[in-house]
Symmetry: C2
Subunit: 269 residues, 2 copies
Amino acid sequence: VSFACVNGAESTYCRITERGLQYGDGVFETLLCLQGTPMDFERHWARLARGCDALRIVCPDIREQVLEIIRDRHEHERAVAKLIVTRGESGRGYRCPDGVTPSWMVSIDAAPDATPETGVDVTLCRVRLSLEDERLAGLKHLNRLPQVLARSEWHDEYFEGLLCDCQGNLAEGTANNVFLVKDGGLVTPDLSTGGIAGIVRQKVIDHARQQCTLLQIRRVAIAELRDADEVFLTNSVYGVTPVRSVAGVAFKVGSVTQTLREQLCRPNH
Amino acid sequence: VSFACVNGAESTYCRITERGLQYGDGVFETLLCLQGTPMDFERHWARLARGCDALRIVCPDIREQVLEIIRDRHEHERAVAKLIVTRGESGRGYRCPDGVTPSWMVSIDAAPDATPETGVDVTLCRVRLSLEDERLAGLKHLNRLPQVLARSEWHDEYFEGLLCDCQGNLAEGTANNVFLVKDGGLVTPDLSTGGIAGIVRQKVIDHARQQCTLLQIRRVAIAELRDADEVFLTNSVYGVTPVRSVAGVAFKVGSVTQTLREQLCRPNH
């Protein structure tokens, strides 16, 4: 980590009474920052606020402070900032006493290289996403063990792994949403049984609606992958990433993916 | 917290790169300690080791050190020690690099008062337990948001809340397992679709088998509660706790529960 702050003060330490550690009791956002400016900040902030609402954490009023920290600390032209908000520190027990102040942490690192235009190789994970209570579904919360276990299924031989939900339908990657292109239209899982509603996923959806591209947001059987003309991933750090193979099955990197990649990954889009 | 240590050194701080915070990537045990001696330590240690195994965390060789810390730090005659083991510290991303050293933390507090022999009042929670991948099922891991949300459904008017799994069957309390007594026999959920396999739960099961008490470990429909003769909770801190009401429906505190409470809660059992 090249910079970290906890509750606004530069530090790499938090208390072990932190409920983020004890229970994963919080939410996070991962922001791609170009020359000190986070991309799609309004969308990220809105999702963070929704996540806090769902968990009944009073989202701290740190919007301007976070922007300032990222602006002042852009040692890297392209950086990734991770923002965590938790319910705060408390004693033992799931109940959080009244009056506990939420904690927040920002860590900033150099951004990884962009993904190749020629596409990435993807595997299928054996781990299934947890089917969560509806209050948790879709939230970018700190309970991420399914993703950790899924990511441990491979080393560097793949860029990403796709996960199914507990009913065996395609849900998402460990850190990317997934889209199929079929006959020029887009298909993406509806996430009703697992998965995070990604910011770039929403941008692709909004763009498709604007352009009147055929778009289906629904349950996607894993077998449908094989019939896709193109497959791509979406994620805030990498934007749109073409997939050239899933579990050894090859896909072409086609014009639908390429166009979206160009149009949605511009900083000022 | 009256005492805390991180990786063996007295401290109340951990790094924010701790995967326990970032992802809930770890397991924990809660130990009742009487005059510096943790109860059922072998069972707790075995469960911790199994949990680490399941998550492929190399369980640190801290058995004797943990016992020593608890022995040296028993400011309270009755204390609760919480032991957390995580995969360790790492950079951003679900993948944990090779060679990362697991972290461990012990915090010690005064134990709460024993539960009353006359029984406690219990509510039914609206939150459902997550249906987890089989690699996570039953583990006492750090992804505990369902329990946090469930516990936020009431204040002090109840001692505990019972949760159903995603299929609507009775699973467990937020921090206790649950048993029904019917015609002198015991019934407890099999936890196949959610819930932690508690240490005192296992002691009750072992005891029932020894005594040839009729014992059923199976799916339990929530409607069966109403027909129970007695209901009790099990938990390492409180042992066996009689239930005198669930969601306003009264139960008697009967002899099966009372006998188990006396027999299993003795320190040297």
